[in-house]
Amino acid sequence: MKERPGWAYLFLSPWVLGVLLLTLGPMAASLYLSFTDYDLFSTPNWIGLGNYRDLFTDDERFFTSVWVTVKYVLISTPLKLAAALAVAVLLNRASKAQGFYRSAFYAPSLLGASVAVALAWRVIFDKWAVNPDTSILVLVALAVWQFGAPMVIFLAGLQQVPKELYDASSVDGAGPWRTFRSVTLPMLSPVIFFNLVLETIHAFQAFTGAFVISGGRGGPVDSTLFYTLYLYQKGFTEFRMGYASAMAWVLVLVVALITALLFGTSRRWVFYAGEER
């Protein structure tokens, strides 16, 4: 067949333009701005590593926001994955109402990132949201409740587990727990890994819930000052967009590093079918 690259370019162009104009372009711009004193309105001046130096040497709230975010990632990600897996296992049986339950459990994920749900959350959990010791848990609960997306992926993964493995384990006299640990979990480990990476990255980027529930302030006493929320405050309420850009790049590097670490550990616990051990 004759190659027709012209048509390929035509069909690729929406995607290529999108990446260039909406992703790579702005990223390059923000990398540049992170080395400037850009204040949203005036022409930026080059200040070299000034923003990065201030971040690490002269900004107590930066470390507060890092700590709050790390806490949130460490608590919410495992809980969310556990909830998603548990529900996926329960839903992974043939039943007439299965379609309904899957949709019902998935629904919060569609709604969860919205401002309306965060507002409702603020009203429901008012008592905890205004207490600096418990406010972060309100946000964790909001995240865990949105387990739908990883759940669907787990469900798909569960259905890929070869039936004969279960038959074999039942012939060997394994109980449900034993089967889960020795058959389901190893067979599912690539999917668990995929979800873990994805949800960790999501958790680092959490913003809406904290913004809405704390009224944009990250309070009380900075207890919900997520990294992205502090970045937003710096950029849009203090007009230090250069500084905010530097924060964004620190986040990119940290998330990249953590993803690399996760990939590093994966060799020890992720099992791909057909692989030799």
């Binding site: 035509l10 162009s13 204040d39 009224g215 302030r217 849009f236 203090e238 007009f239």
Partner: protein, 426 residues
């Protein structure tokens, strides 16, 4: 041929984007053309209803101009405004705050209003108020109204609780005693006051009572010791239960829904007298009386403040129409009648007289308050320096450390001073 096709495809797509971004940018008066301008402000639904009525009248009188409006509460408004300006999508007419006018004017975001295409008719407004909107001798914001600080209280509740009402020469201790009475007599169900320690505005009045100021020539003019003394006073009120507890205080964001006074969880508090609109009693479910601040020095410390300003975006392509709208809102007698006291006491003296004659309810109470307290008011200090908005936000944020007892008052005050210094100098 294929290469040509590919180039054509890319060119076409780029072309569409370019066309979508481009727009006419003549800045000439457009007499007969249909023009739409955007007007954003902060306020509540009550003020919105009144503003919409005035704008309807403007549109009737200027059939070629259509005004699109949007509003939010104060903090949300300014967050949105900054985003819009940065994105090049600022509203043509915007409401500006005294505290931010220098910040925005210095950053070349606001149009000059005493010269050029956005020139306004300022003849009806006193020089004293205009200076509040002037930066380096140029006008960037025109105050439609003036207001001043006020203490308001649910006088029926105070009577029931046998709390001594404010009178001439009352002190901060008198305030504390009365607030305590209300809290005690209701077993804490209704606190005497909303905790006001985190609001820099009331701290400012207290400072001025001692002959000090927030800023002097662009620098912070008070010390950590002043802040600590103020917070010690309000902290004592919180500990004794005279004011709202920390969990309630931390939610205060200027909205009615999170205001303990509106929610009947507190019987009084400080505010600006421009906050009283026709429905204020209805929203709060009871009536209030107004009083000047307490003072320990015999000096009142309050001043006549531009309640807010109207500004025009530097990048607006419809400056003449925008100016027309502002002129109408400030100088038109009929508009004045509709707007009443919804943004405070009209700055235009003529409009003020017509408005005063027609008032009833809460706006009348506010009007009368302005008449009595007016002679005692000092002129407004010059607009605060860049970063003042950040300092104000820090004041409230770090006060949370005090009320949640995360650090000593002294430590919190020093932490705040460090933050504020950084905000003002950077």
């Amino acid at each position: 041929m294929h290469r040509a096709l590919a180039s054509a495809a890319i060119a076409a797509l780029l072309g569409i984007t370019t066309v979508a971004c481009g727009s006419g940018d003549e800045n000439t008066p457009t007499e007969n053309k249909q023009v739409t301008i955007r007007f954003d402000w902060w306020g509540n639904a009550d003020r919105a209803e009144i503003t919409e009525k005035a704008i309807d009248l403007f549109e009737q009188k200027n059939p070629n101009i259509k005004v699109e409006t949007s509003f939010a509460e104060f903090n949300a408004y300014f967050q949105k405004l900054a985003t819009q300006i940065a994105g090049g999508g600022a509203p043509d007419v915007l409401q500006m705050d005294y505290r931010y006018v220098r910040e925005y004017a210095d950053r070349n975001v606001l149009a000059q209003l005493d010269n050029g295409p956005a020139k306004l008719d300022t003849s009806g407004v006193t020089q004293q108020l205009l200076s509040g909107g002037s930066v380096n001798g140029k006008l960037y914001g025109i105050p439609p109204t003036q207001n001043t600080q006020v203490f308001s209280y649910d006088f029926k509740q105070w009577e029931q609780s046998q709390a001594v009402p404010p009178k001439d020469g009352w002190t901060w201790n008198d305030l504390k005693a009365s607030a305590q009475k209300v809290s005690d007599s209701t077993q804490g169900k209704v606190k005497g006051l909303g905790d006001f320690g985190g609001i820099e505005d009331w701290f400012e009045v207290w400072l001025r009572q001692q002959g000090k100021n927030l800023y002097n020539e662009g620098k912070i003019a008070y010390t950590a010791a002043d802040v600590a003394k103020w917070w010690e006073m309000t902290d004592a009120m919180r500990r004794s239960g005279a004011v709202t507890p920390a969990e309630m205080t931390t939610k205060m964001d200027g909205s009615d829904a999170n205001n303990p006074v509106t929610q009947k969880l507190a019987s009084g508090g400080f505010g600006y007298d421009s906050g009283f609109t026709a429905k204020s009693w209805e929203i709060a479910g009871r009536e209030f009386k107004l009083s000047p601040f307490p003072s320990d020095t015999g000096k009142l410390g309050q001043y006549a403040k531009p309640a807010m300003m109207f500004s025009i975006s530097q990048r607006s392509e419809k400056k003449p129409e925008a100016a027309k709208l502002i002129n109408f809102l400030i100088n038109d007698a009929e508009a004045g009648k509709i707007l009443g006291m919804s943004r405070g006491l009209p700055a235009n003296a003529k409009v003020r007289d017509t408005v005063g004659a027609a008032l009833t309810g809460p706006p009348l109470v506010a009007f009368q308050y302005e008449q009595t307290v007016g002679p005692k008011l000092e002129p407004a200090p010059p607009p605060p320096p860049k970063g003042a908005g950040t300092a104000k936000a820090s004041f409230q944020r770090i006060y949370d450390d005090v009320i949640f007892q995360r650090s000593s008052i002294q430590q919190a005050a020093e932490k705040f001073m460090a933050d504020a210094q950084k905000a003002i100098t950077s």
